[in-house]
Symmetry: C2
DNA sequence: TATTTTACTGAGAGCGCTCTCAAAATATTG
DNA sequence: CAATATTTTGAGAGCGCTCTCAGTAAAATA
C-alpha cells in the first residue's frame, strides 16, 4: 500500500498542495468550506504527513530527546525514579504532540560520539538531560551550539541554564528537622552520590537543619551512598558500629536497604534506629515498618521539563527558566514519631 | 552556527556531492586516496548528515519505536522489567546505530490515534511491541500495513508474527517442580495477568508440573495478580486462609508482596509458607529471606528483539523469527530447599 | 598500441513537505 | 459602481540527502 502524499490529497480535494498544507497545519486564511472539504479527504484516506519531509522543509522535527549521561558510581536507570520520570515526560509529549527519543549510554566514548551525532544531525529539537553530574561536560557544548535543553535535577550553580528540580535542600532539611524534633541524638545520613547535584542538595539541607539549631554534627555519621538498595545496606552496615539512633537516607531504595541492614543486625526499626527516606515510591509504603519519607513529584517534574523545553524551542529565547517543585514529609512507621 | 551540508563538504574536499555521500555511507568503489581526503574534511569539520534529508531521500529513518500498549489491570511500566528491557534495547540500538523512540499511552483513544500517526508518518522503520495483550488489536494493522515489528513476550499463537520471549512455560514448570520436589503439598499460584501471554504461559507451566506427576491441583489456590507488589500482597492475604504451604508468584514484585503478607500475618517464610518468584531482579536478593526465583534474561531479550527487528527491516522478509530464551531456577532462602 | 573491461566519479532527478510571493477572488469604501 | 483593501489560493523554489545513469580514467587484454 503506497503511502499518500500531500500532492495526492490536493488532487483528490481539487486544491493545491499549499492549501492542503494549510489545513494540515491549521493555518488561518482558508475558506471554511475548503478547509472542510480537504479535511474530509484527509480523514477518509487516513493521510498522515511524512515526517521526514516535514522536518526537512521546516527545520523542525517535533522530536525531543531524553538523555541520561553516565554518572559516577552506579547504573541508576533501574531506580523507579526513571520509569516515573519517563511516564511524566511521555504523557506531556503525547499531549503536545512531540515524539520522545531515549539515549542511554554505557561508556564515555560511546556517549561522546553519539552525543555529537545527536546534536548535529538535526534529529531532535531539544534535549532533556537527567541525572547529570554537577560538572556535566555536555552543557557547554549544548549552549555553544545553541540547542534547546533543560536539565532535570539541579543544574550547576553558575551555569545559567534551565532546569526543573524538586526542593532537595528543603527535603533534606525537613527530614533532618523531623528526626531532631522527634528526639534523636545521633542522626546519620546516607547521602546520595554527591557528584550529583541532587545528592549535594539533600545533604546540604540535612546539614542546615543542624546548623540552624547550632547542633554539632558528627561527620563520621555522614556517608555517601549510590542510590541503590544494596548501597544503602552496605553503608548502613558501616554506620551501625557507630551507634546511630536514626538515619536519613537520600533515596527510598537506600532507606530500604538501610532498614534491611538494621533488621538483619538484630536491631529494630524504629525502636533502635529510626529511618527516613526520600522519594516516596510505592516500595516505601510496602515495607515493614512503612517508610517515613520525603515525597517528591517525579511525574510532574517530567511533564514540566517537557513544557519548559518546548517553550524554549518555540520562543527560541535562551533566558533560563527554572522551576523547583515542592516536596513534603510523609510520616509513617519507620521514623518512630508515631509511637 | 550554520550547519554544514554535503554540498559544502564536497566543495571543500573538491569532489562531488555523490562522492561525499559514498564515503559517508561506506559505499565501495571509491579510490582510497579520495575517501581519505573526504573523510578528513568530515572529521575536521565535524560534519554530520542531516537525518531528515537522509530519511526523506532513502525512505529509511533508522529509528525504531518501543510501543507499550495499555494492558488490563495495572500500570506495569514501573516494574523493573521495563528499565531492564529498555537497557537491553537501548544498548543494541546504540551498537547498530539506530535511534529509539518511546511510546507509552494512558488511554485507549489516545493510544489508537497516536498509533496510526506513528505508523503512517514514516517516522519509524519498525516497532517493538511489549507487554501486549494476547488479542492485541495493533498486530493486524501492522501486518496489513506491512510494518516490520517484533513482539516481546509471547505472541498470540495463531498470529504468525516474530517474537522474542523467555521460556515462561518452562519457568512455571521449574518453579512448580521445585516446590513439589521439596515436599510441599498445598502449592498456590499467583499468576500474572492472564490477559498477558506471559501470565498465561507461566501458569500453564505451573499446571504442567502437576499434570505430569498426576497430582490434582486445588483450583482455589490459583489466583490472578497484576505484577505488582501490592497486588501480590493482596492476593496472598486472600490465599492465606486456605492454608497453602508454598506459593509460586509469577513475578518477583508479587513474590515480595506475598512474602510481606505472609510475614505480617505472623507466619514465617519459608517455614510456614515457601515462596518462589519469577524474574530475579535485584530486589530478589535483597529480601529477607532471599527470594528463590526463576531468572530470565531481560536485557538480552531486549537486545535480541532489536536485532530481530532490524533483520526484518533489512531483509524485508516477513517470515517470522522467533527466539525463546532460557530461564533458570535460582535457589535461595525463600523456598525452604536449603534448610 | 588499440581495444575491451573494470573502477571511479559527477550530473541531475527526485523524496514530500513548507513557505514566500504574486495572482485571483471577495469584501469594503467613498 | 469604480477604486481600494483584504482574504484566499496556487506556483514554484527550495530543504539536504540518495541513487541511477552516463561518462571518464585506469587496468587488462589482445
Amino acid at each position: 500500500m503506497k503511502r499518500l502524499t500531500l500532492e495526492e490529497i490536493a488532487k483528490i480535494a481539487g486544491v493545491s498542495r499549499a492549501t492542503v498544507s494549510r489545513v494540515v497545519n491549521d493555518h488561518p486564511n482558508i475558506r471554511l468550506e475548503v478547509r472542510q472539504r480537504v479535511q474530509d479527504v484527509i480523514d477518509k484516506t487516513g493521510y498522515e504527513p511524512n515526517r521526514a519531509a516535514r522536518s526537512l522543509a521546516s527545520n523542525r522535527s517535533n522530536i525531543i530527546g531524553l538523555f541520561k549521561p553516565l554518572v559516577g558510581l552506579s547504573d541508576l536507570f533501574i531506580d523507579p525514579y526513571y520509569p516515573k520520570l519517563m511516564n511524566g515526560i511521555s504523557r506531556e509529549c503525547n499531549d503536545l504532540d512531540y515524539v520522545l527519543t531515549l539515549f542511554i549510554f554505557e561508556n564515555r566514548k560511546e556517549e561522546k560520539a553519539k552525543f555529537n551525532r545527536i546534536i548535529n544531525s538535526g534529529l531532535i529539537d531539544g534535549l532533556i538531560i537527567t541525572a547529570s553530574a554537577i560538572d556535566d561536560p555536555f552543557v557547554p557544548v549544548l549552549k555553544q551550539r545553541n540547542i534547546p535543553f533543560v536539565m532535570v535535577g539541579r543544574a550547576p550553580q553558575d551555569a545559567n541554564v534551565s532546569f526543573v528540580d524538586a526542593e532537595n535542600i528543603a527535603g533534606g532539611y525537613m527530614a533532618a528537622s523531623h528526626l531532631i524534633r522527634t528526639g534523636y541524638k545521633r542522626i546519620a545520613c546516607i547521602a546520595p552520590e554527591l557528584s550529583t547535584g541532587v545528592g549535594e542538595d539533600r545533604l546540604k539541607g540535612f546539614l542546615n537543619a543542624f546548623k540552624e539549631r547550632q547542633i554539632e554534627v558528627d561527620k563520621s555519621l555522614i556517608v555517601e551512598g549510590d542510590f541503590t538498595f544494596a548501597g544503602g545496606a552496605k553503608m548502613m552496615r558501616q554506620l551501625l558500629p557507630l551507634k546511630p539512633d536514626a538515619v536519613f537516607a537520600g533515596s527510598d531504595a537506600m532507606a530500604l536497604g538501610a532498614m534491611q541492614a538494621i533488621q538483619e543486625s538484630g536491631l529494630r526499626v524504629p525502636e533502635d534506629v529510626a529511618v527516613v527516606g526520600f522519594d516516596d515510591f510505592p516500595s516505601a509504603s510496602n515495607s515493614s515498618p512503612m517508610l517515613t519519607t520525603i515525597r517528591q513529584p517525579v511525574e510532574q517534574t517530567g511533564s514540566i521539563a517537557v513544557r519548559t523545553l518546548i517553550d524554549i524551542i518555540d520562543t527560541g529565547s535562551s533566558i533560563p527558566r527554572n522551576t523547583i517543585l515542592p516536596v513534603e514529609l510523609v510520616i509513617r512507621g519507620s521514623c518512630g514519631a508515631l509511637r
